[in-house]
Symmetry: C2
Subunit: 318 residues, 2 copies
């Protein structure tokens, strides 16, 4: 089949990729559309030493199994099914998991992929293909609320107005929190719900005077230098949520974390169902984040476009 | 009055220190005994640019106010009494607080000190002077359980077998957790409750094979290089508690925190009452941690003794 293949930093279109092999309790999915994520760009730069087909934000059509013929999205962690984590229903932390298009598992930038059937969810008609490609990152954004209390009266700052930052702001606003986005592209304020405040320049320097510190600060820039500035923006006993991995170690003064008893919470993948529901109920308006669509044959241009400063979501179609 | 005075790294005994001035709702305390803490040693090296009398782990006798004549210990944060934090009863995070012997407040290495009367607690007869000097650090150790769940079945690792590490191990064991101490002084195992396991060499290198990762890891070494090794010792969705401030920034790879969704929790001062109660009920055996007692006149020797490798608590008496 056709698909992208990544090997030592080179991404190429191949016509001879092996079909995903059918396995009991797995479903083969024909990919309709897939989003390029910052993680995909990091993989190309060498993150995880991944060799194979990247891509993990997708919508497709199930070709076999109980969902055959339905449009589906799929959770990207495939667990062993037997360990304590898997038995608790959380393959996200199975020590032997593979991760679609990221680790040990061929991904979505191809004609077809396979996932455990239990990972798949049918997409309601109210959710378009474009929107459905956002279920994975929106689920990750909504997952913040699984670990910390966010709701009415909770003052949240989202650091970063990239794709993930905007989705985190939408997710927190959908939970009723008071959200401010600290960004660098003033025009993006228009992509956010009206209740979300937008500020430029907050992360570029230490605040000069005393500021009204936030209950929760979400790191969504992926910039290691930003993290060091966040403790000054969160109130004592508040929380910093790390939504991005950085590619190099961060030099950080941890003393303010101790003195102000701040929590730093690492946060990764979320459950798909609440994200799909938020899209179906129009509680998260993601369609405005799509910058362009390319065919797999133009993947090189698509990745170059996605890497351009200020570009939001670029989608690929087989 | 007599007391120690710290100015630009020089600690000297002075006979002409001003008496603590009486204030409404404050109590003057005659110090009986005070412990030298790692923070005091850091202050001498320049931490906080503190000028004045250090010392914050003390037991004394109230000279006025409602506890006059009683032996007392005292919480070290003196709040403004009016802000939201103070009205909630938590002066520990008052933005205008002073901190006894650490910030804006003359400390316990002197004949007398003063604290808000509400900060003081009477010491039961069952608790000796030596033991009472441990109320402050034991309260800090017990405070871990205010922020995270520790109890039967929770596997905790305490990194470090200095004073704070041993107190954290005692505190966690008193809460019923399964505790292991990763230390460097095998003889200290004898100072710990019999239920606590003790291991040498865990922090010096990355574990070679897979290890049974802990639910909670407490950083109590103060060594910035140790922190970077801790994510590998905690299970996915587990917690690292930071009990020490380090004097220099730490270079840390935060990606494992995100991938394994680990929480890093800064933890500082605790409430005194549970600590005093644990001592009175013999649930924490701290007397064995006392290495030596010196008079204020021998403070220089006392600090030199406390700084020696492998020495636990050194006490000062006016």
């Amino acid at each position: 089949m056709r698909g992208l293949h990544l090997d030592r930093g080179r991404l190429s279109l191949r016509g001879d990729l092996p079909e995903p092999s059918p396995r009991p309790d797995w479903t083969v999915v024909a990919v309709r559309r897939a989003g390029i994520c910052a993680t995909d760009q990091a993989l190309v730069r060498g993150y995880m030493d991944f060799v194979g087909t990247p891509g993990h934000e997708f919508v497709g059509v199930a070709l076999d199994g109980p969902l055959r013929g339905r449009r589906v999205v799929g959770e990207i962690n495939a667990g062993c099914g037997e360990c304590a984590e898997c038995r608790r229903g959380d393959a996200r932390h199975c020590a032997s998991r593979s991760v679609l298009g990221i680790f040990g598992h061929q991904g979505a930038f191809a004609e077809r992929l396979a996932l455990p059937t239990r990972n798949l969810l049918a997409v309601p008609d109210a959710v378009s293909d474009d929107e459905a490609t956002f279920v994975e990152p929106l689920a990750a954004a909504l997952h913040i609320a699984d670990d910390i209390e966010v709701g009415p009266g909770v003052r949240c700052l989202v650091a970063g107005d990239g794709k993930l930052g905007l989705l985190c702001a939408m997710a927190l606003a959908a939970r009723g929190a008071e959200v401010t986005v600290a960004g660098r592209h003033a025009e993006r304020a228009a992509l956010l719900p009206p209740s979300v405040a937008y500020r430029i320049g907050m992360l570029e320097s230490q605040p000069a005077g005393p500021i009204d510190r936030f209950d929760v600060v979400v790191e969504a820039t992926g910039n290691p230098d930003v993290l060091a500035r966040l403790p000054a923006l969160v109130r004592p006993r508040g929380t910093i949520v790390l939504k991005t991995t950085t590619e190099r170690p961060v030099a950080i003064d941890l003393a303010p974390l101790v003195v102000d008893e701040i929590r730093l919470v690492g946060s990764r993948c979320g459950r798909f169902e609440p994200a799909l529901q938020a899209l179906a109920e129009r509680r998260a308006a993601v369609a405005g984040l799509v910058a362009a669509r390319y065919s797999l044959a133009d993947a090189e241009s698509a990745f170059a476009h996605a890497a351009r400063r200020g570009v939001l979501k670029v989608l690929l179609e087989p």
